[in-house]
Symmetry: C2
Amino acid sequence: MTDNTLDRDDQQGKPATIFDVAKAAGVSIKTVSRVINLEGNVRKVTKDKVDAAIKALDYQPNTAARVLSGKRFYVIGLIYENPSEFSYMQKVLNGALRACEAGGYTLLLLPISLPNPGLIADVRRFVSQSRLDGVVLPAPLGDFLDIQQLLNELAIPFARIAPKNQVAHDIHIRCNDEQASFELTQYLIEQGHRRLGFIKGDPIHGATSHRFQGYLRALEQAGIEFRGEYVEDGMFSFESGKTAARALLDLKERPTAIIASNDDMAAGTIFEARERGLGIPQALSVVGFDDTPIASRIWPPLTTVRQPIVEMAEAVTSLLIQRLRGEHVSSIAEPFTCHIVTRNSTGPAQS
Amino acid sequence: MTDNTLDRDDQQGKPATIFDVAKAAGVSIKTVSRVINLEGNVRKVTKDKVDAAIKALDYQPNTAARVLSGKRFYVIGLIYENPSEFSYMQKVLNGALRACEAGGYTLLLLPISLPNPGLIADVRRFVSQSRLDGVVLPAPLGDFLDIQQLLNELAIPFARIAPKNQVAHDIHIRCNDEQASFELTQYLIEQGHRRLGFIKGDPIHGATSHRFQGYLRALEQAGIEFRGEYVEDGMFSFESGKTAARALLDLKERPTAIIASNDDMAAGTIFEARERGLGIPQALSVVGFDDTPIASRIWPPLTTVRQPIVEMAEAVTSLLIQRLRGEHVSSIAEPFTCHIVTRNSTGPAQS
DNA sequence: CTGAAAGCGCTTACAG
DNA sequence: CTGAAAGCGCTTACAG
């Protein structure tokens, strides 16, 4: 056994192990372990030697060995409702993948359909079979009490995106929906609209009430009287948008502008207006939320609100990973900022 | 050490190991291993005893231990272009997830942007860091020769969805694009259209030429002369559809119907027609392919072609898993069948 | 601040 | 058709 042996192994392309690194650095494997796990209690000089050896050998810890011997799985689950319009989830996915890659974690997906009587059983199976360390829950799943309870029982930390309700010591991320809705409504008022219809979203989503609150605040600030018949319930779906728009457009004094709580319902509103031959924006201004692909592809292209979803998902997943590493992290205090995207579905009010 | 010891462990909730199963079945762990890996060479009686023990103990092999000791990773990668319109990929994702769950594999994602000079380096890092057994390549990635070469070098089997070119002994899945396009064109011809515009897709996709061929065949069968100025190149994007439609609608003798090779380009065509005040379908019939969400949300809703994408992705991933298990599988011979979805963007030709 | 030993739960290679 | 032994590459728990 000469030093050549090591070299040969190396050249054969077998990945370096913790023993190779230890030998190269002249320390024990436990010290290498301390360095790669950032445990501390290693002299600077020693750490530098180990880091150099890791770099020289292009060492990467074997996840299977870590999992088998340790208490972590290096896996995060993303449980989400499988929607008909996926563009929001696509961005969540991209952000969560980024954070996982940066943190050395693997991301596993569990798409679910709602309503689902076997939901909890599905989640339980996913969590235990896939051996997860943590879970990311986009809205509305982050507000399902039975999921929260299950994860708490199993002692699996979770992070929530755009949750509705508070949970003690939780990790979550939000954007300033209320302010964005306020500005969007204000924008319509500035164009001379006084009869402003509003289509609410699915009440289980936190965004639904925030967006409605922003609308109310803008009305109040402009001194426009609130009229209950101008508010319709929706469920964020295209069809529910159509139905709500039908009710609003059937009113004797129909709105000159309609604020839909997402783009799909705005598209439903445009669809319904077209069926009645109403020109947009001449006879009716329409706005949405989320800036999904349809917003720029529909005619006329839709004035809407863009959220930094990728960044939000990345931030909250990073926080989750930090917590999994034992760091004491709390939720981000500041909500992320949304921006209005102005297109051609809005124009001056005609009276 | 009495039998109670085993029972106690069991009740404590520690997952059963191969030793527990072996003890309960009265065999060695190697025999249990043979059963769970379907290796054969086990007497029926023995196998039954082991199966019973597995069931009684709710035994599930520890993947980390299998990976560490064996030559497999139980992981499949899905590498895909991260598109602006995700609905096709959403279905691929759902199908691949289904097959992986059924086969005991984990699915890992690598979204990439194109063009990407570092593509091969990214793929190499993904494959080696994530320790994959196999890879699923949706179009157009399945036709990238450098990816194929890399995977062949690393001896990693791959499965391709809707590839353009042949590869010896490969696993892939297709649908009958040519026939669907033929029928769609025929449908327009039956409505009296003789001036049929066609917008091609990205030439790197196999579907592009198949869909064009179907168009040509339908023209020929109806005895309609092919006119080169009625064919425009596109790239499957909304913008490219708009540009192509602009050229077609600028023609002196403009088409009365336009076949776009996907829904996004059809949406671009409708957008362009609207800007010119052309009524649809009165002045222009428009059709697309894929039945993406926009097809049913745009006005007027789009006549299009629906592919069984979830099923195709599931089938090809299952085949890949079978190959990874050492079974000799070949590609599915029969292409999957597409269906025309008739909506309101098409009508009788006006001349 | 550092290290020696045990063990995680399987598969492999070999023996019979 | 069945099994005993070695070993995969780490982390844990403990010692100093």
